[in-house]
Amino acid sequence: MENDILLKIEGLRARVEDKEILKGVDLTVRKGETHVVMGPNGAGKSTLSSVLAGKPQYTVTDGAVTFMGRDLLKMSPEERSWAGIFLSFQYPVEIPGVSITNFMKTAVNSRRKALGEEPLTAAAFLKLMKEKMALVQMRQEFAKREVNVGFSGGEKKRNEIFQMAMLDPVLSILDETDSGLDVDALRIVAEGVNTLKTPEKATIVITHYQRLLDYIVPDIVHVLKDGRIVKTAGKELVAQIEEQGYDSIN
């Protein structure tokens, strides 16, 4: 059904500097679905997530992207966030001098303001923080830490999932979330993601490896190769890639 469609990407072409990376991507994500986009290095996986998030260095040269019926490409990064898109970064940036508490309070209340809601009271906000930190098993002392400064790879990824829990997006895009994680952290990230799953929401997991998919079970698997989606199938495709490699997919 048309009103079940959250994200529709049609013929998307994009370049960074002079190099064309996406060469006509088509992808449709409906409510309740978990999609996986897999591909070899250089296929365009990070470019796809960057373009969806609105990263300035990337230029869309053709195609259309709609999110809940709205033209996504016309929206600023903050507008996309308010509309309900969340990108968990592959390499989260450090923000010295800004605490996680201050950062999240500004993000949560900016969103509420954009949606015409009252800001949360200090008490309500702290309660929300505590609840979501517990959900992703993040130690309380992290609330005072500067965003990502001195964090291990696993701690940075857990912080991404924590932010996702706080902002409660409709569409989550996890960009190579499983790189740099140990098995325990992997399980916590997956548990956080699975706990937040509802029939009204959707997730796109972008990954090179199969590991995370032992814990987050996909409904639909796509293979991105040379800037295009060359194959779409069910989760059995994951095993085929693991056994025979990306060269076996055409």
Binding site: A53, G54, K55, P56, S76, P77, E78, R80, S81, W82, L87, F89, P92, V93, E94, I95, P96, G97, V98, N102, F103, T106, A107, S110, R111, A114, Q163, L167
Partner: protein
Amino acid sequence: MDEIIIKSGKTFRSMFLAAAHDAPELTGSGICGFDVLSGREFSTHVVLEENASADIPVLIMPGADTRMDFRIELAGPGASCRLFGLYLCPDTENVTINVELFHRVHHCSSHQLFKGIVSGKARTGFYGRIVVDPDAQVTEAYQENHNLLLSDTARVDTQPQLEIYADDVKCSHGATIGKLNEDEQFYMRSRGIPENEAKVLQMVSFISSVLDILPEGNGREKLAAYVEHAVRTSF
């Protein structure tokens, strides 16, 4: 030039504030000082005797044109001085800070930290000279000046100058001119923080290391709120 002599073992604390308007919100904050109104030149000469210390915060607010000259002499062993401050120049301000700091004798220490946010068509200059006399052994003298240059039409000059004549010393100076990090901004915007608010967070974090030098408490909180409000509404 006013001359202020800090007697042996005593501490001098006084803030130099240049602002275009009165700051009633700072009353009762425990920060006492000389209010220098915009458009004036102000010079001060501080001489520190044995084991005397001086803590001198400087704050130059948006809309203030000013030139401040500081001449500081560490004249007795064990004397120490911290000279630190902020200048916020979003528009057409003209601000100059001259520091001449002399280590005359042994076992003295000095720390300077100035940060500025400069935009519009403002022009600022920080000129910091440190002289360590030949007899001033076991000296520690540090100076830093960091600037955010936020427009193509603003101008920042920064000129450290060290003259060291003793040999058992620890001295360093650092000067930077940079802009706000765009990757940080994108990360914040992707979480729903609007662009201008993201920049405010970055600017407030930039100046926080200077405010953190003030003693913790009500005075610092009031000053931080006063400065943060200026950053939020002027840039």
